[in-house]
């Protein structure tokens, strides 16, 4: 690879190689404030490559490769190289990580205790976490949360937050342009703009946090909070985990412990302000 960069996000050390300078420079900007440890071996390798050499120049399109590949992933135009890098990083972690139970969930923390928000795309978990991260909470991650099978603690994965569509304006109103990446308009996922997490959240990324609340947000509809049982939380989280099966009994033990020790709720909310207020409301009642 002609251009490359190493990035540490939480416990994962990435090596990203690219046929083009652009995506690597964009990553360099987003991750400039992250701690660097070039002596650590990479856990995951992402490659962004042109499928034919001349494609680097003529209508360049980015293919995503690495330790794991998705054969039918569409190539992206070079202008979306940053999105390709993000997708590649997610893919390597989702398919390759074995040290922790990986939940497709965002998370925030306060006073050494965390709120884990699990939901599908469109549930608003990423936006809620980003906004809470600007309102007195430590952002742990907008996409993945890792559970340590030995301790039961949650570990942060604070990659640059992938803001989509309406969430972009909500966050732009709160943070300066220096903390935002370029606007990627009209990607297959809509408009995307990355938010660099606050420096204190990045500095604290290796500090494990005890889970205190499990929330399953649902964007849209009247505000509602519903307590759910341990069994339902268990089923939802097995579906939200990309490596539950691969971890075998260690994953089973980690997940049963998590749902037994952590109260779980679904929340429905019509807008971000209401969502944030529901999180604060449940937080005030959470057992300490």
């Amino acid at each position: 690879m002609r251009h490359s960069i190493r990035i540490a996000v939480g416990p994962v050390q990435f090596r990203i190689g690219s046929d083009w300078a652009g995506p690597v420079a964009a990553l360099g900007h987003l991750y400039a404030g992250y701690p660097q440890d070039d002596t650590r071996p990479a856990d995951a390798t992402v490659r962004l490559y042109a499928n034919r050499p001349w494609r680097r120049w003529l209508r360049p399109s980015v293919h995503i490769g690495g330790d794991y590949i998705v054969p039918d992933a569409l190539p992206l135009p070079l202008s979306m190289g940053l999105l390709a890098a993000e997708m590649g990083m997610n893919l390597q972690v989702a398919l390759g990580w074995r040290r922790h139970l990986l939940l497709h969930a965002s998370a925030v923390a306060r006073d050494d205790r965390s709120v884990i928000l699990s939901g599908a795309s469109g549930s608003g978990k990423s936006t809620l976490a980003a906004l809470l991260g600007e309102s007195g909470w430590r952002l742990m991650g907008d996409e993945f949360t890792l559970i340590d099978p030995a301790s039961g603690d949650a570990l942060a994965f604070p990659r640059a937050v992938s803001l989509k569509n309406e969430a972009i304006a909500e966050v732009e109103a709160r943070v300066g342009p220096a903390r935002l990446g370029p606007l990627l308009a009209g990607t297959p996922k809509g408009d995307i703009r990355h938010l660099i997490p606050r420096a204190d959240a990045v500095a604290a990324m290796h500090e494990p946090v005890r889970p205190a609340l499990l929330l399953f947000p649902q964007f849209g509809g009247a505000p509602a909070i519903e307590r759910i049982g341990q069994g339902e939380a268990f089923v939802r989280l097995t579906e939200a985990s990309t490596n539950y099966i691969a971890l075998g009994e260690a994953g089973f033990a980690a997940l049963t412990r998590l749902v037994r020790e952590t109260p779980a709720f679904t929340i429905a909310y019509p807008d971000s302000a209401t969502g944030m207020s529901l999180v604060e409301q449940l937080w005030a009642l959470a057992p300490r």
Binding site: E249, T256, V259, R260
Partner: protein
Amino acid sequence: MADPAYRAAGEGMLRIEPLGELAAIFDRRSQQTHLVTQPMPEILAALAAGPCDAAGLAARLADSFDLDGEGDAAAILTERLQELTAMGLVEPV
């Protein structure tokens, strides 16, 4: 046809974790997770004493459950035992 007797998984093969009203069962042989409700964990526990048929199981469970009408209980337990068999958690002897 006489009711078959059923045998529980060998000792240590299943890890059963109660989760409120449900129980999660990890089968160490297949590495599969099953989520079950009452009376599945109780049936597995009762079978640990040794293989038996549905009527025998009803008698064992009568101590801890209020089973009305032994015949009905045995018929219901037969269904549950067939479901546990399908999950691979018990097997006919």
